[in-house]
Symmetry: D2
Subunit: 100 residues, 4 copies
């Protein structure tokens, strides 16, 4: 089952600068082959359900091993059976409507 996900990870108890931890998770997602696309409030990934949720687990484990005591993550998960659709398709579909 293919999954498109938008992942926002918030490390707690390590102060206000979170970018080191976000970068660490980007690396986890890249190493998992998920081609993460960072945006100002999260990261979009697409792949097999187990690959995505497995990489997210690895990310939590990695941050905890870096000394983050608590993590609050928000994830938007999309699956569909009506047709194949990539993240690019979703963007293209909206842009087509905007140009009309």
């Amino acid at each position: 089952m293919k999954l498109i996900a938008d992942i926002s990870i918030i490390p707690l108890g390590v102060g206000l600068s979170l970018s080191t931890y976000v970068a660490a998770c980007e690396q986890v997602f890249r190493e998992a082959g998920l081609e993460p696309r960072l945006h100002p409030n999260g990261t979009n990934v697409e792949g097999d359900w187990d690959a995505v949720t497995g990489a997210l687990k690895t990310c939590h484990e990695k941050l905890h091993s870096m000394g983050v005591p608590r993590i609050a993550t928000n994830v938007r998960l999309g699956t569909r059976t009506d047709r194949e659709a990539s993240m690019e398709d979703k963007i293209a579909s909206v842009k087509e409507k905007m140009e009309r």
Copy 2:
């Protein structure tokens, strides 16, 4: 790694009444031993990371098998290493502060 999660599942393409599908997922979570606690905008569960994300996958698969062509889920995921904390602990901690 213990996970406390708040799961909001939105089936698309099946009209406006979503309760049948929410109920189906509640059953999935119960059968997985996650003791789901339904609230007006989602369901709270706690358990091992793999048990929770596995049950969520089963829920998506079940809804698709029931004819739901597209699903958009929002999940809040919390893990921590500083101490054990249950969902009850989280509520009790806030209520203690409110009563002061």
Copy 3:
């Protein structure tokens, strides 16, 4: 326009114990007449759109005035025009399906 919302507020830069801040927001919501219902991963409120978003703004302002330097909030917002539905209705509708 009536709004049912589920609000999860995460204060950053104030350590790991967040319950004092969650309790402060509960008070803001109560004072706004929104009858907040706390759950382990957020608070459900219902009311007029402006009343809910106004109280959420007051909550952010209050936490900042308490010394919280950064806040990350996740909100689920539901509006509908097909019929009136309360938070109780949403829960009852799911429970009815579960009992069948």
Copy 4:
């Protein structure tokens, strides 16, 4: 109070193709001067708190007027008092860490 927000709007009861509605909200955000940046699972905006939440309300009203009977929106809201930070700053900060 400056707000950086990530808004994911899900219209219900209008089938599976949501791009028309997403495009309509992009227009609302642009007209409000919020410079929305569409990504595959939402739209990032930044601006004054009231401008952002006001535009989001206008978006819900517009979709309902287009015939959408029910809307489920997920929003990530960030405010901070420690320093000024734009969406560009957030991305740049993570990329700097990744390149090291």
